[in-house]
Structures are given as structure tokens and as C-alpha cells.
């Protein structure tokens, strides 16, 4: 089953949510963020270069210009490798666990798996983030010694930050799967 609706993240940029239900006990949610726009790259590059040129104009030192080129290249590489996330996915398999993975624009992927025995619940929580108060989806982990206590919280979709309507959709399907096992 494939579904596509239009959702936005907390800053009003559009993102897409892709729900794939593999079986009644297993489904995958992929939140995709639009790719880096060429215009934005141009603007940032222009800013750095104009600044560098202004400095060069006063100091007349060519090292400024070459370092500007270097900074732009390294900055872009670091950005696509560590900051820019293309899509984040959440794979919930009833009775087994939850796999959270995010793939960066450079192709790098990070994946973590949380066993079902460690998971207490999945909830939507509220938090203060920068100068906003936002909703986010998180996994509550059990304290090994005391099954009623919550030892820590793992936030999901950390870089895409979808809004509440998207979270509610994911939350409902997750709860359906978790409640079955």
C-alpha cells in the first residue's frame, strides 16, 4: 500500500511521508526532505565569495581568495555529509523492534536498532526547540531494573521535524503494531 499526502515540517517547508505496510506486523515510514536547491547553494557561495573579495580589496592578499574557495568546498562537503539529511526512515516490526535510519545527501547512512524488549512505548511529546515549542515523536526506553520507569527517550525524525498531523499518522500506525504483540 502506498500513500502520499502533503505534509510540512515545523518551518513550513514541504516534506513527504511514505508509509509502506509490508504486513500487518511490519511497516515502514519514510520522511523525505527536498533536495538541496541549487539556488540556495548559489546564494551561500556568492555570499562567501563576495565577502572574500571585499576582504581582498582592502588587504590585497590573494591567500584570502584561495581560502574562500577552500572554505566553500569543504563547507559544502561537510554539509552534505553530516548535516543534510535526505530521508529518515522508521521501520517498525512487531515483536522484533524498531529500526531508525537516516541517509545523508552524500549517501552516508546511519542506522540504529532498538529491541522490542527495551521499548516501553512510542509517544508524541512536546519540547522547546530553539525559539519554538514543537511536537516530536519519541521512543521511551525501559529501565532494565524497573520495568515501569523510563530510562531515556529517543527522539525520532530529528532532522526532518515533521508537524503534528504527520506525527499523529505515524503514531497511530505504530501503536497498532505495538498493541498487537
Amino acid at each position: 500500500m502506498m500513500e502520499d499526502e502533503s505534509f510540512t515540517d515545523i518551518n513550513g517547508k514541504s516534506i513527504s511521508l511514505d508509509c509502506q505496510s509490508h504486513s500487518s506486523l511490519c511497516s515502514e515510514f519514510i520522511v523525505s526532505v527536498p533536495k538541496v536547491s541549487i539556488g540556495k547553494v548559489m546564494v551561500y557561495t556568492c555570499c562567501v565569495w563576495l565577502l572574500a573579495y571585499a576582504v581582498f580589496f582592502f588587504t590585497e592578499n590573494t591567500a584570502v581568495l584561495s581560502s574562500a574557495i577552500f572554505i566553500t568546498l569543504v563547507g559544502m562537503m561537510l554539509h552534505i555529509h553530516f548535516v543534510k539529511v535526505d530521508h529518515e526512515s522508521l521501520l517498525v516490526i512487531g515483536s522484533l523492534g524498531i529500526q531508525v535510519s537516516s541517509s545523508y545527501a552524500s549517501g552516508r547512512e546511519t542506522t540504529t536498532f532498538i529491541e522490542m524488549s527495551k521499548i516501553k512505548d512510542i509517544v508524541i511529546n512536546e519540547a522547546i526547540y530553539m525559539h519554538q515549542i514543537i511536537y516530536y515523536l519519541c521512543v521511551l526506553l525501559k529501565e532494565p531494573s524497573d520495568p515501569d520507569a523510563v530510562s531515556s527517550v529517543v527522539p525520532l525524525f530529528q532532522s526532518s521535524k515533521p508537524r503534528l498531523n504527520c506525527l499523529v499518522k505515524v503514531y497511530k500506525s505504530c501503536q497498532e503494531i505495538i498493541s498487537k504483540c
Partner: protein, 446 residues
């Protein structure tokens, strides 16, 4: 409700906000409390009955009151006001910079505002002249002001140069079921005087330090129980040291609200030595526990209790000693009313339900009023607060408005998620299973 002062901090304002909110929720209103972060307690919390508290991470400057720059709190406050769909902003306590900030931003955003003043101020010294000016500015375009006693109303009206018609008096209350008398806890071979207050200058701890040795010398069976903490604890410790009264004067340190009753019921006489007080909840709690109350005649205290339940003295050591002597003599002769009868009289005098009802009326009235648009607000500021301060704050108001426009462009209102109501007409709280609420301090929103 906005105030710097809320739990886990302890005091009269905190419990006032909490109890009032609970009663308003009971009446079907949606209540959200905004305060600053206390240590590790920050973020969003839910308390009993779905009362939502925002602990915003703002810098604390002095005495648990946040630093005010008029602007830095706007983004977060706006976020709270927009997502919770607030209609009336109610700030508490004139010491709370955050409360004033919230009023200022709320007016910029076009929301109705109410302010509750909990304390009295002087007019003479430099600091009160400055605070009074700030209060004038803050209240000159606030829709309505609430004071806790008639003395406090008079004081606020004079300080802030307000129109008395927009100032209401709504007293504080006590929960009579929390403060019930229990004479079996008293020790019959002695007379115990209980003092519960913060040990600070305003509460007249120096007077207390003066009268303890005098009375202890005259009455060998007299004991003091003193609850509370503060800088003036030194004075009491000094007195205790000097007159060797360690077994008769017990300093209990800071008390939690739930322990107060346990201390009160051990005593025969409740003593309040405040030098300034707008309402004084403490004497009400003392009387509710069936104690004889002796207090200084200051501020709004004479309004609080009927004359036969309280002994008033002038705020000096000699008068207080004389007052205590007469009460001690009455206690010895057994001619005082029984604790149960005192409790029965007090329990219906001040209830939170009544407070909530009256506050509700204020809200209803305020919600119908129009909020001054920016140009009239500026004119009013300049006309009302003097040419210099008025112009400065008019300028600040314009900046605040521009900042708001910037924020509205940066993060438009439609981008913010509307919060799920826990309380109020569409409250979801009752559907949340109670076991789940207890399990997480940060509760899930369904």
C-alpha cells in the same frame, strides 16, 4: 497565567496560581501556566487534571525573577499564546519581570490582559519609585487589575495611577480541608507559639527576635516553633545562643506546604510579625487550624479575619508582647473558643471556588473589551506615564511590534501546530488512562 513564581518554588503566589487554575479547570476553562525553568525542570509538564505548565528557558536574574530586556522572551511567549489559542493573559505578582513581559507582548499581539498584584509597596525610597514607574507603564493599558485586599487596591491604584473602576478585589483563600485542627497534637504542659514565614526583613523577624527573650523570661512554659528559612535566620540563632533557649526555641528550617499543617496543629498561638502584607495567607491557615492568632496591624491584615478571631498589635516589640500576654492569659484561664469552633467559622470565609467564580467574572468582562490598537496605545502611554518614560516605552512598544512582525514573517502563525487541549471545553484529559499519566512525568498527548 504567567508568573515567574510557580512550583517547585514555594510561597503564597505559587499556591494561589495553582489553586485558582485548578478551580478554573473544574469550571471548564482551559488554563495554561507559563513560568521560567527551575534548574533541571524545563520544558512542558502536565500537573493534576491536565493543568499544563510551560517552563521556558529564560535567564534568572535575581530572587527567582527573570531578567527583562522586553524582547528576548517574545518568540517563546508568542509561540505559547498562538499554539494554545489564548484569549486572556493573566500575569501575577508585581515582582515578576516575566509577568510584565508577558503583559507587554500580549498587548502587542492584541490579547486581553489581567494583572494580579500580591504585594504592597512603599512610595518613598529609590527602588520603590522605580518599580512604581515600571508598574505604571505596565498597567496603564492593561484591561483589568486584581488586588488581594482593599488596602492593596488602594496601594496599587496610587502607585500605578490607575482608574479605580478597573481594579477589583479578590482575596486569597485557603483549602479548609488541608488545615483542620487536631488538639491532640498539642502538649498540655506548655504553651507553644508557632511562627511560619520566610525569615526576611519584610516579615518582621527582628521584632520576633526582640520579643522571644522577653516572653521566655516571664513564662517558663513558653515554647516557640519557627518554620521557614531566610537571611534573618541569623538573628534568631543569635537570640537563641545569647539567652540559652535551645530547648525552647526550635527552628525547623524550610517547610514544604504539606508539612505546614503538621507544625501548625502543635501550637496554641499563631504569631505573625509582618511589617508589610497585602493579604497574609499564613494567619488564615493558622486560624483554620484552630489557633489563636496574634498579628501586627499592617496592610490588609485587619480585613482578613473577624475581630474576635485575631488579636491585633502595633508593629513594635512592646505592643506585640502585651498582645501575646493577654492571649497567653486567656489560654491559661481556658476562656478561648475551642479549635473546632474556630475552624468552623473560618472554613466558609475564603474558598478557592469563590475566588475562581469572581475571577471568572473578571475574565468575562475583560474578554468583551477591545484591545487598544498600536496608535492609541502609544498615545495612551505618552499621556499617562509622563513625557520621558512614556516616550521611551512608546518607542519600546513600537520595537516590540516590529519584532513581532519579523517573527510573523519568519515563523508564520499557520506553521505552528495548535496544541492539543488537555483542559477546557474540548479537553481530552479524561480520555487518557490514569495509569499512563502517573507513569510519565512528561505525559503523552493522544
Amino acid at each position: 497565567m504567567v508568573s515567574d513564581f510557580f512550583y517547585p518554588n514555594m510561597g503564597g503566589v505559587e499556591s494561589h496560581i495553582y489553586q485558582l487554575s485548578q478551580c478554573l479547570i473544574e469550571k471548564g476553562h482551559k488554563v495554561v501556566i507559563v513560568t521560567h525553568a527551575y534548574g533541571r525542570r524545563k520544558g512542558v509538564r502536565h500537573l493534576t487534571n491536565g493543568l499544563k505548565v510551560y517552563y521556558l528557558p529564560l535567564q534568572v536574574m535575581y530572587n527567582q525573577s527573570t531578567a527583562t530586556t522586553c524582547f528576548h522572551s517574545l518568540p517563546l511567549m508568542r509561540c505559547v499564546f498562538v499554539r494554545e489559542r489564548i484569549t486572556v493573559v493573566h500575569a501575577h505578582s508585581s515582582f515578576s519581570a516575566m509577568g510584565h513581559d508577558a503583559l507587554f507582548h500580549a498587548k502587542t499581539m492584541g490579547l486581553n490582559t489581567v494583572f494580579t498584584d500580591h504585594s504592597l509597596f512603599g512610595f518613598a525610597d529609590v527602588s520603590s519609585v522605580l518599580t512604581n514607574k515600571l508598574l505604571t507603564v505596565s498597567l496603564c493599558d492593561t484591561n483589568h487589575t486584581v488586588c488581594v485586599s482593599y488596602t492593596s487596591k488602594e496601594n496599587t491604584v496610587l502607585r500605578a495611577a490607575l482608574n479605580p473602576e478597573i481594579v477589583s478585589v479578590i482575596p486569597n483563600a485557603v483549602d479548609p480541608t488541608d488545615f483542620t485542627p487536631d488538639p491532640s497534637q498539642r502538649l498540655d504542659d506548655r504553651i507553644t507559639i508557632v511562627v511560619i514565614s520566610r525569615l526576611v526583613y519584610r516579615k518582621g523577624i527582628d521584632l520576633l527576635g526582640g520579643l522571644i527573650p522577653e516572653l521566655c523570661l516571664k513564662h517558663p512554659d513558653l515554647h516557640f516553633l519557627i518554620g521557614g528559612e531566610g537571611p534573618k535566620r541569623l538573628v534568631l540563632e543569635e537570640v537563641r545562643e545569647k539567652y540559652q533557649l535551645h530547648d525552647r526555641v526550635r527552628l525547623l528550617g524550610a517547610l514544604e506546604h504539606k508539612d505546614v499543617r503538621g507544625v501548625l496543629v502543635q501550637g496554641h498561638i499563631f504569631l505573625n510579625t509582618s511589617l508589610t502584607e497585602a493579604f497574609c495567607m499564613a494567619i488564615l491557615e493558622g486560624a483554620s487550624c484552630g489557633l489563636q492568632v496574634v498579628s501586627t496591624r499592617v496592610g490588609g491584615i485587619p480585613e482578613v479575619l473577624p475581630e474576635e478571631l485575631i488579636t491585633m498589635c502595633e508593629p513594635n516589640v512592646r505592643a506585640l508582647c502585651a498582645g501575646l500576654e493577654t492571649v497567653i492569659a486567656r489560654q491559661r484561664s481556658g476562656s478561648v473558643p475551642s479549635p473546632a469552633s474556630i475552624h468552623a467559622r473560618v472554613q466558609n470565609l475564603y474558598t478557592w471556588r469563590n475566588v475562581a467564580e469572581r475571577t471568572e467574572k473578571v475574565y468575562d468582562r475583560v474578554a468583551g473589551e477591545e484591545v487598544l490598537p498600536l496608535d492609541r496605545r502609544l498615545r495612551r502611554l505618552r499621556a499617562h506615564c509622563g513625557p520621558v518614560a512614556g516616550s521611551i516605552f512608546a518607542f519600546v512598544a513600537v520595537l516590540d511590534f516590529l519584532f513581532l512582525l519579523l517573527l510573523q514573517w519568519w515563523v508564520p502563525d499557520w506553521v505552528m501546530d495548535v496544541a492539543v487541549d488537555a483542559t477546557g471545553p474540548h479537553g481530552l484529559w479524561r480520555q487518557v488512562p490514569s495509569s499512563k499519566v502517573g507513569a510519565h512525568s512528561k505525559s503523552a498527548v493522544k
